[in-house]
């Protein structure tokens, strides 16, 4: 299964049937500039598509991370709390934010594929 993208500039990588890894795209990372703090949700929290689940602070401002899917959070990348710059260096890999067990896997179909996302950010 390939990586999907949201209009809020998150990537969603489906690892197994109902398990996904979520992070922010390189485009989002570049727009935010130098990150100085990431506030992560707690493991066990529920997330609902479209709701804020995390706050990303750059030197400039605070931005919300909006859940691209619904489910329960089974793991968070706590390295980001001390080293938010990992997101800047490797937003699509080491800089992942959370792992979610989907409550409605069909939500994945509403996300964009890479080609659609690339034309979305060019608009």
């Amino acid at each position: 299964m390939s990586i999907k993208y949201s209009e809020d500039h998150e990537w969603v990588d489906a690892k197994e049937d109902d398990l996904v890894v979520i992070g922010i795209t390189d485009f989002a990372q570049e727009q935010l500039g130098d990150l100085v703090y990431v506030e992560l949700p707690e493991v066990g929290d529920e997330c609902t598509k479209g709701e804020n689940i995390s706050v990303i602070e750059s030197v400039k401002a605070a931005s919300d991370l909006v859940a691209p899917v619904s489910g329960s959070i089974i793991e968070v990348n706590s390295r980001l709390e001390d080293e938010p710059e990992i997101v800047t260096e490797d937003s699509m890999g080491e800089g992942w934010f959370i792992k979610v067990k989907l409550s409605d896997p069909a939500e994945l179909d509403e996300l964009m594929d890479e080609e659609a996302y690339n034309s979305f950010i060019e608009e």
Partner: protein
């Protein structure tokens, strides 16, 4: 500068775009917020080497006339009459209620002429304020054809003195008229970063040429408004609209140091500026609020607007500016607090997204000033 269009540009606009700057609207101008280096590296470059800032959006005003110096004293709580030739002083326009209308730099050019640099967002209101109160006795000009560059950082002096050796004689808050590669420049040794440095006023027509000359040094990089803000925050310098506004006096904004002795109660030229009764009273008896530095516990930035509470959850103030200090590598804030809490040992907290963050009151600046005083 372009006139008539809704959003204006400075003479360096094309250079910023060519340098890959992220441009944003700011005080009616399209200005560079950051360059490809990014805010953190731009900030550090200024602290370690030399940063070049386009501050042409700021207002540059000439005030002249036989009574110009005493006239300006009627609008600022600062000693202008005894400001020596080619010296620069920090001042504040006050209002009838003791509030601050703007902060500014004043330089005595001689021949009963003063040169003022004021905030971009306030410049037209400042000009009208001057015109209204002093228009009958003084001649006024708000320059529309001047650019302003700031060269800031420990290498600023060596970069500039390689082009104009006479700047080595300048100390902090002095001014000089000089030529840089046949370009007429008006230079003050001042700035808004806490570092040694210069502000250079130059005609719009020579602006790009001067910037090219300065940028040809390996020490110099363009620095955007983002780093300008983190640098001034670490240096504990007030920003109009944040630490300063029309509903708080200079005393309430902890700027007592800027209120000249000779204009204080019982002194030679006591008061006689707008709001003098209120400000002089607060100087004697204190004010209800003060502006202080805060160090939040942990890594989360506490930004402007955050409420400050005491242990019992009562509001005791709010953050006026806050963010992340790259030099300190931790979050820093400036806040307006009830005076009785500024010296108390009781714990205070900032509210960020409903979380209570413990904050420690500290002396400003966060990063020590490196001004060149000779």
């Amino acid at each position: 500068m372009s006139v008539g269009s809704e959003i204006r540009t400075t003479p360096f606009h094309k250079m910023h775009v060519d340098a890959g700057a992220k441009m944003v609207p700011f005080a009616g101008y399209e200005m560079p917020v950051s360059y490809p280096l990014g805010i953190k590296k731009e900030h550090n470059h200024t602290r370690e080497r030399a940063g070049l800032f386009d501050v042409s959006h700021m207002g540059q005003i000439r005030l002249s006339g036989e009574q110009a110096m005493s006239a300006l004293e009627s609008l600022v709580p600062v000693d202008i009459i005894d400001l020596p030739l080619m010296k620069t002083r920090y001042a504040l326009f006050t209002s009838e209620n003791g509030g601050v209308l703007d902060d500014l730099m004043v330089t005595n050019l001689g021949d009963n002429t003063l040169f003022l640099v004021v905030n971009a967002a306030c410049k037209h209101a400042d000009y009208e304020h001057l015109q209204h109160h002093l228009g009958a006795s003084c001649e006024l000009e708000l320059y529309d054809d001047l650019a302003l560059l700031a060269l800031q950082g420990p290498k600023a002096s060596s970069v500039l003195s390689a082009l104009a050796p006479e700047v080595e004689e300048m100390t902090f808050m002095t001014a000089m008229q000089l030529m840089i590669n046949n370009i007429d420049c008006f230079v003050t040794r001042s700035g808004y970063t806490g570092e040694d440095g210069f502000e250079i006023s130059v005609s719009a027509q020579d602006a790009e040429n001067l910037a090219d000359i300065l940028l040809s040094s390996d020490e110099v990089e363009w620095i955007g408004l983002g780093a300008r803000d983190s640098l001034r925050l670490e240096a504990g310098l007030s920003l109009y609209g944040h630490e300063l506004d029309s509903s708080h006096s200079p005393v309430e904004s902890s700027l007592n140091w800027a209120l000249s002795k000779v204009r204080r109660l019982g002194k030679e030229r006591e008061g006689n500026y707008l709001g003098d009764n209120i400000i002089l009273d607060q100087l004697e008896n204190g004010s209800d609020t003060k502006v202080v530095g805060l160090l939040p516990e942990g890594r989360m930035p506490v930004r402007d607007g955050a409420i400050i509470q005491d242990e019992n959850g009562n509001q005791v103030g709010y953050v006026t500016s806050g963010g992340f200090g790259p030099t300190l590598n931790k979050p820093i804030s400036i806040a307006r607090l009830e005076t009785k809490f500024t010296n108390s040992q009781s714990k205070i907290f900032a509210l960020v997204r409903e979380k209570k963050i413990a904050v420690e009151i500290v002396k400003l600046p966060f990063v020590k000033h490196n001004y060149y005083r000779g």
